[in-house]
């Protein structure tokens, strides 16, 4: 006997599953209260950065106000010793810090992906060389390297600093990307793609990289956090053009002018807290992405909750559940 239609009907019971699965990654991400808080926090800073010109009441570098005023209705974060409005500086600083942080984070991730994936996919001598370079960058303490480079680069703007941070901070990501790419490269679909004539470039870009999105996203988050901290550290040490307005330079000026000792907490608390909150938002989102990537990390519900959920579900969908033998 032959063809009892082997054609498998693919329509059966799939549309629902499809919808279910497609959103599940995003759902898991947003269902997690931590990543949600992270996203909201981050969104807030993004809004501030985008609408900085509308939100900031004054020109951030204008020095026309009274010096070292504590917070008041007209200067809700007070003023600096140069008579600048701290709130306006904070708002504009959000923009600079965010651009530098995200820019450096994204750039270093791009470098990490390029180097890591190339090394992981091509293997052999290319891998050995790239991996050695990567290892050297990896074991070098980042800030020390940055500072040493700064000593040869004069007068750097926050953006220049972002660039330097990105150029020195990609190694950890590259390492992760490399091992990920190695795993993916050993998958059969890569071999299949090669068999169907795809070029190396095409394989890296269309076959490997899309499968690393979560790792890449996670790396971006981590790199952004590191970049924001590095930038503020550099600025604090004075390795940044102090005419620019970023949270880092705000901290630099407040510390140079003894904001703390003269009790001007309104000057140094906002930028520090801003960095901490922005950093936390990156960390929280990263945490969420980790849970999407690795289902094992999802914290399971407590026993109590499971029982409760079970009851609810059973009540709401009695018809689908097997009942006792009798019927």
């Amino acid at each position: 006997m032959s063809t009892q239609s082997v054609a498998v009907n693919t329509t059966a019971n799939t549309p629902k599953q499809k919808a279910k699965r497609k959103n599940s990654a995003l759902q898991t991400f947003f269902k997690n209260p931590r990543s949600l808080v992270g996203v909201i926090l981050f969104g807030l800073f993004v809004v501030i950065a985008i609408f900085a010109p509308l939100i900031a009441p004054y020109n951030p570098s204008s020095t026309n106000f009274n010096m070292l005023q504590p917070p008041s209705a007209s200067h809700i974060f007070g003023t600096t010793s140069l008579g600048q409005d701290v709130f306006s500086q904070f708002i504009w600083g959000t923009r600079a810090t965010l651009i530098v942080g995200i820019g450096a984070g994204v750039l270093s991730t791009i470098i990490a992906v390029l180097i890591g994936v190339t090394a992981g996919y091509l293997g052999g001598v290319t891998d050995s060389i790239l991996n050695a370079i990567c290892n050297i960058f990896l074991v070098m303490p980042g800030l020390a390297l940055l500072i040493i480079i700064e000593s040869y680069v004069n007068n750097s703007t926050p953006y220049m600093n972002g660039l330097i941070i990105a150029l020195t901070g990609w190694a950890w990501g590259a390492r992760v990307m490399r091992s990920m790419a190695m795993t993916i490269a050993s998958r059969d679909y890569i071999a299949a793609a090669r068999l169907s004539g795809a070029s190396t470039f095409r394989i890296i870009l269309f076959e490997i990289v899309p499968n690393m999105t979560s790792v890449i996203a996670s790396n971006v988050m981590y790199a952004c956090l590191a970049a924001v901290l590095a930038e503020s550290g550099l600025a604090y040490l004075g390795f940044e053009n102090v005419a620019s307005t970023s949270w880092g330079t705000m901290l630099y000026w407040s510390s140079q002018n003894g904001a703390m000792i003269s009790g001007a907490w309104w000057w140094f608390v906002p930028p520090g807290l801003g960095i901490a909150l922005l950093g936390t938002s990156f960390a929280l989102m990263n945490f969420g992405i980790d849970q999407v990537t690795n289902p094992r990390l999802r914290t399971s519900r407590k026993k109590k909750d499971v029982q409760k959920l079970l009851k609810e579900l059973q009540q709401s969908q009695t018809k689908g559940v097997s009942t006792d033998g009798g019927q």
Binding site: S61, S81, F239, N241, A243, I261
Partner: protein
Amino acid sequence: TTNASNSTSTSGNQSVTTSASQGSASTSSAVLTVAPNVTGSFADNFNPFSGTNSVDGTLGNIYETMFYFDNTTGKQFDLLGKSFAFSNGGKTLTVQLQNKAKWTDGVPFTANDVVFTFESLKKYPDADTNGIWQQLVSVKAQGKYTVVFNFKAPNIPFAEQYVLGGTYIVPQHQWSKLGDPAKAKITHANAIGTGPFKISYFSSQDYKFTANEQYYGGAPAVKTLNYPAFSSNSSADLALASGEIQYAGINIPDIQKTFVAADPKHNHYYFPPNNPVELYPNLRNPLLAQLSVREAISLAIDRNALSQKGETGYEQPAVPTSLVLPPQKAWLDPNLPAADKSFTVNDAKAVKLLEAAGFKKDKNGIFAKGGQELSFNLLTVSGWSDWDEDALLIKQQLQKVGINVNVQQDQYTAYYNSIDPGAGQTPHFDLAISWTNTGPTPYTTYYDMLDSNGSFNIEGYKNPSLDAVFNKFAATSSLSQQKQYMYQVERVAAEQLPVIPLLDGALWFEYNDAKFTGFSTQSNLWIDPSPYNYQSAAIVMDRLKPVN
């Protein structure tokens, strides 16, 4: 201002720290903690020929010059020298030396030590950073306590500043074996001097001196000097505000609130003006070479804003002559026109001047002539935050009159290379904030800044008639004549604006007189009070008296 009962109020605060760090209260009362400036960490270098590279106290506390000429008061203090006299038309200098001085290893100090020191500089030119042997012909001892110097040409300011007041005498019996003095390894273990203090303890974050009991001027009352290191202004500020330091030269913000208020009875400060801070226009730039442009810039700068905001009120606006007033009041030409005596902001006049010179505002709102905008880079040093702030303020002020300024902060080396790239090289900058050299008379400042051969003529000013005035000044020791020459220079400075004075740079000086009194204070300013002026600080600390 000292009062025994009041010292308990501070020690209430301090007892927590001291008891926790197990310090014994009895010894700490005889200790004077000094923070001449914010130094990150110390290297064990007590070589007086290392200049600023040796740790504070090397010069003054241990090694001494023959005399000290105080810039602030104009006074002369005798150290290893008792007296000096010029003869032979200013070409010969005879010095009588101390006959009671002893090196700290017990060997007596003699004229041979002085001769040896100068001969060493001749033998090892790299140690002669002041270029003494470019002026000097010979040094001879006459007996045990007399030395005679012969110069190529009369240059009395030079002789006073560098030979008598700028060369630290080292013991021949030790240094004759050391070779090149600039490379000699002098550490806390082998530093032998004649000064009032001896080094007693050294680590990279803290070092101490004890009183030299055999000091020819009598043993100092302060038995221990303590020099801790601070990484940054803010950490030094905190230490000063919390009473850990008694004698400091730190720019601490909001000093009334942060320092004085902590202990109003004993915490005092005085920031006397010391050296003018200038805005140097590069006169090789054809735009800046025009007097009207310089004048417009000068008119638009609000020096009061710089003083209040940039310098938090610690430094006063400068005067057009670049004289530091009141200290150099004696040198001020009494007949100077009022306009040359002080600056006033006048944006309207600045605009008018520029328009008269043929400048027109272009579409960017910047004055321009022949397609050339009045747009300049303003160079400052990155990390010198008050200058950086001043630069930001100047940028805003000049913007208002249609002059564009880009603030450019460079690391110190790059900055210095731009303004003074070395012999034969042209400086490359448009505008730069920078300092002036100072000396016992305005001559030093003016000569270095305005003479064609001046060592700090970075703006490139050339005026043969002024050069001639400087030559005449150097050759005379008559005060009234000297003054006449200076009056001429003052006018040129104020009216030609070869450099644009901004502020009178201050000396930083804070002190706590709960334990010791006798500082040079605002009411009794007997010497440069700052702790970072090596010789004057040593003299101050030598003469301090304990409260009880």
